[in-house]
Subunit: 397 residues, 2 copies
């Protein structure tokens, strides 16, 4: 029996690709520090857990396709606190950020159309694009400049008659880069000039450090028709298993279309929405504590990375990832070697080879994404093993 072309071609997760090596190492009794996945270790807020504990409906029923009214109202208040004025009609709750991105791609473009995305980018954009039949056109950015966006002319050179949107991830996964207000406004002006949508993935909104201010695409004036924001509670509240996100736009026609896609799948999970709603009023201190912890971890990782001769890595201002260019040829080979052959006190480290985050063939082969989602003590040990292992690996090759 034959499978469809898309089924044959859809990218396997590069983040999970090396998992068999980690499983094999763990089966041998080796402790593996996982810096490869974006699963936060911070406890989920008790306010959220309490909702599961007190759920008392007799029937666990469908909610509305656009999301529970009470939660959409909660989101309006959450965004207001972020300085973004919205109405409930601008928000459709989705099954995590994933579904929000799929919906966004399906409404802005037809099969064969293009969306421009700065690379390296969140690798699952590839899978969503395959589902939507959209071609992702990579806009290459570089470790040397902290993955900054290139000037207008470079972007404009990519825009063709099939281009329907530009998609940003801000703060960036995998880069940790936070775009400034000027940059967001500049890209918005470019999108407007060329009649393109600007899709902004802002799931790491609160994860900004060193006084950096996050700018949402929804803050751009006179841009209501072009701006689409996708969001998720996964990282914000350490609630990746809740699968709650949303798509936000003030473009009424576009949201009417999104609603029809949403109606086909009936609704997002009911109890998880109620749980997410318990977090919309979390005080600023929650996020201050959170960012203080992540910032300390980032600083620790950066300090250790800087000790590596020949490494290229600017300190990122957001999210909880760092992409580092290593003084070796093949980062995947290095990680496989770490899992197979290198331990200190029977412990080793896993990170995600960055090649899978690039759409341009050959790029990122000597880069790694490190997620700093471990407590400081573990992270310290992990970085020591990482540095020592890398030095050892370099001697071998």
């Amino acid at each position: 029996m034959e499978l469809s072309k898309r089924a044959r071609e859809i990218q396997a997760s590069p983040i999970r690709k090396l998992m068999p090596y980690a499983v094999a190492a763990e089966a041998k009794g080796i402790k593996v520090y996982h810096l490869n996945i974006g699963q936060p270790d911070i406890p989920t807020p008790q306010e959220m857990i309490d909702v599961y504990h007190s759920f008392s409906d007799k029937v666990l029923a469908y909610g509305p396709s656009q999301g529970l009214e009470v939660y959409r109202k909660g989101l309006v208040e959450y965004y207001r606190h972020q300085g973004i004025e919205l109405q409930t009609k601008d928000i459709i709750v989705t099954t995590a950020g994933s579904e929000a991105i799929i919906f966004a791609m399906m409404v802005v473009g037809e099969v064969g159309d293009e969306i421009i995305v700065p690379e390296p980018f969140y690798t699952n954009y590839n899978g969503f694009a395959t589902m939507a039949g959209i071609h992702l056109k990579p806009l290459t950015t570089y470790a040397e400049t902290g993955f900054a966006l290139p000037e207008d002319s470079v972007i404009e050179a990519l825009i063709g008659n099939k281009t329907k949107a530009i998609m940003l991830c801000n703060p960036g996964n995998p880069t940790g880069t936070v775009y400034s207000k000027d940059e967001i406004f500049r890209i918005a002006a470019l999108a407007k000039k060329h009649n393109l949508y600007l899709i902004s993935d802002e799931v790491y909104r609160e994860f900004v450090y060193d006084g950096t201010v996050h700018t949402s695409v929804l803050e751009v004036p006179d841009f209501a028709d072009n701006a689409i924001m996708v969001d998720s509670v996964s990282k914000r509240y350490s609630a990746c298993g809740a699968r709650i996100g949303c798509i936000v736009s003030r473009n009424v026609t576009l949201m009417d279309a999104v609603l029809k896609f949403a109606q086909a799948r009936l609704c997002p999970p009911t109890v998880d929405q109620l749980a997410a709603n318990a977090c919309v009023h979390l005080k600023d201190e929650f996020f201050t504590t959170l960012t203080d912890r992540y910032k300390a971890r980032r600083d620790l990782v950066m300090e250790e990375l800087k000790k590596i001769p020949g490494i290229v890595c600017k300190k990122p201002e957001g999210a909880f990832y760092i992409v580092a260019k290593l003084p070796i040829e093949n980062a995947e080979d290095f990680i496989i070697w770490m899992l197979n052959d290198f331990q200190i006190n029977n412990e080793t480290v896993m990170a995600a080879p960055a090649e899978g985050f690039y759409a341009t063939p050959g790029l990122g082969r000597n880069e790694l994404r490190l997620a700093y989602i471990l407590c400081k003590e573990d992270l310290k040990k992990a970085m020591h093993i990482f540095r020592t292992g890398l030095a050892e690996y370099q001697k071998r090759t």
Copy 2:
């Protein structure tokens, strides 16, 4: 700003289309009996609710993309009890049956390919087909014959070089029709002969009456490569808000491809999976009580329908729907009139016009789908209002 063709063309839910009329009626203080939606009223099992109440993980984390191992093992036992032998590798947990159908469509066909579906069919198949770029080719069935499948030659006449699969809903939504073992084996043989997948939507598996036996596509011998089953806990456990389903196939290559689609969206909801797992060992008595209740309701509705002169409606053996052909021209017009202009003691009835369940233009205009998801007392009142209203409506036109 322009939207994609699929965004412009995706079908709005015909089940929800008349909701504004119901909302308006309810705003006037009229009680509306909703026979239009498939939201069961039976309480969700306490075993399931207890799981939400006792969830104690510190971090609500991602699960594996293929679903939690514990739940997939639970499902193996559930299906074993149904007489179906599976291994965990044959099962991928999905975000409700909806996602299972989208995955199935995407792996069997490419954009522009065709899937044959008996009509009337579950209207959201249209939305999923739009997302997958699949053309649904309707195989018309008729109220007069209880929506039985036509003979092979009629089906074969629809098979072209773009046809990749036949999709069945068994027991049927909206028809309530249950295909016999002979019919399932016949369609399977046809699929095999023409090298087609057979996708079987079996979410109403337990909802069969009068001693009818359900036959799964997974029971067909020597059919492992062709058979794809989609399932959901929504109706089975009155847990529509949990959004847990699965896709099942013994075709290893196909399941490898499904896993890659599943990896892109990371995982289905974690707590809901644990909750669903609490139900896999529910005793047969649970379903006997359930079907006894639904059967009594079906009998009540059928009794009332039979009193209507000129109605065409064979007693369905499964699910909790009945499609009735009415002695009027336009069922949608009738329902709008009921909501706007007809009440008994300030109460009225809503049902789903069946036209939206047909893909062939013009079919089903004088048909309605009634969901018997109310308690007997309410259903009795609703059917009295329905019959009286219909007689009144016929006098008017």
